[in-house]
Symmetry: C2
Subunit: 211 residues, 2 copies
Amino acid sequence: MKDTTIPKATAKRLPLYYRYLKFLFDSGKKKVSSTELSEAVKVDSATIRRDFSYFGELGKRGYGYDVESLMTFFAKTLNEDRLTNVALVGVGNLGHALLNYRFHQSDSIRISAAFDVKPDIVGRILDGVPIYDANDMVEQIRAQHIDVAILTVPPAHAQENADRLVEAGIKGIMNFTPIRINVPKDVQIQNVDLTNEMQTLIYFLSNYKED
Amino acid sequence: MKDTTIPKATAKRLPLYYRYLKFLFDSGKKKVSSTELSEAVKVDSATIRRDFSYFGELGKRGYGYDVESLMTFFAKTLNEDRLTNVALVGVGNLGHALLNYRFHQSDSIRISAAFDVKPDIVGRILDGVPIYDANDMVEQIRAQHIDVAILTVPPAHAQENADRLVEAGIKGIMNFTPIRINVPKDVQIQNVDLTNEMQTLIYFLSNYKED
């Protein structure tokens, strides 16, 4: 890893900050204090100040932050100012729901191609997204210069499809399968394991009771 | 918080360990080393040993862990040995996909009631799950003794529905909306924000390049 001093935990909070700043900006607000920000995004204000400190002087203590300049800064940091095209592999129930998913009004993320093997949907356009044959994955992803993919295939097909995505030049995979896929070091994986999340929640219910 | 010494990060890895142990058990394996476990779940073996140490003596170093007893132990810890009924609120695209979601062969998690406001689906059974009128939420959840809910409503309705769930006695909410909902301290929230996950992934692509 190079050229960075920002911890992963900080990076994960940036979209949260950004979305709230955008909301404030859209409602015409000019200034926001770290306390207000803290209450809205449910991150303690010491953490917010530390997170912001990685990006240099973003505001003066006691005067609050300037909403517009902070929003613009985070937009650039998050690449919100340019479009990221995303491929989706596996148009089952969850995959299909994600084709419809609007990524919360983010107009910078767009699923531009989907892949499947089912003859009844290949070659069609579903919810505005063309469904290509999985055999054309490498060719299409290269042609469309896509470097991020969502993987929503059945577990048994997770690794083979990840391999194809890597072959096509994909650099980031949002993995909805329960499989921990193997990829080269320069490919980032974001695992979204809904069973894990649910089991963890249930575990916390039984084991982290407050009195 | 009381009666616990297990860090949240450890708790989040338990479902991962459990699933792999179940896989090994189903394939007839008797023993597993922390190195094998480490490679399969992609968690370094020092972390695995530290995680396991919170649960006392689970295996002898150098001899590996007994697959069956470890699996049984984690099953109990994760309440996998009893059924958890879950309510789903908001049967839109994502909510509907989750009705179909099999929580990866976990037969201990079951969506047993769903709620919506749309007249064309209320009163019907979709994918085996009855869809009740949102106005009957408090009554049904109490009657069915449900204490975990999945929230997949539009953002503008997130807080009001969370309030109803709390009123109904829900103790854990898996929140798929981008809203950071307010709940009493004894209610656990697990936020699953897909836009956040995607933005974080895209951020990492641009900022964490290896050379």
